[in-house]
């Protein structure tokens, strides 16, 4: 059962990473990146790393995503090409 959980989480990570790459709207890409950070936090917890999970949840979904949002607010929202 833990193997199935593991496989589902990793496949979800790969799928989210693919959608982050393909998103033309940068705001959508950043929101998906925050989701990537949260799924990664669950992966850390499954690997027996609670310290890393707390840090990843606060930093990945909190600080890094907000920095990206501030940059998008100051530059452009859509990716050309």
């Amino acid at each position: 059962m833990s193997d199935v959980f593991d496989a589902v989480m990793l496949l979800l990570l790969i799928a989210i990473a693919v959608t982050v790459g393909r998103a033309k709207d940068l705001l959508a890409a950043v929101v998906k990146f925050a989701l990537y950070g949260l799924v990664l936090c669950l992966v850390w917890q499954h690997r027996g790393a609670p310290d890393v999970a707390i840090t990843e949840a606060a930093v990945g979904a909190g600080v890094t995503s907000v920095l990206f949002l501030l940059t998008i607010a100051k530059t452009t929202r859509a990716e050309k090409s």
Partner: protein
Amino acid sequence: MVLFGLDLDYAACVVLFCLGLYMLVAKSNLIKKVLGLNVMETAVFAFIVTAGMVEGGDPPILVAGTSPPYASPIPHAMVLTGIVVAVSVTAVALALIVQIHAHYGTIEVDELKELP
């Protein structure tokens, strides 16, 4: 789990790393490149922590409720340092992107290459 002689968890980390590498190299938008860099970094962290885990083991907190075998604490420490370094690199890169946009009006590498 192992499939066709290949450890699938390590293979997933390799796939994530290559997805991030592709985003870093092939996308033209600078913000997409920084996103790809972050995906690469998290893929490396996933690999490191997966290498140090024990199947069904406890976190390396030696209190009354946990028992051996423990996950190895050294990969966790390396990944914590790595997460902070990733935040630092991302913050500096994004600040530079804001400056580039203010000066040149664009953050697409294809357009930046055409400028005189």
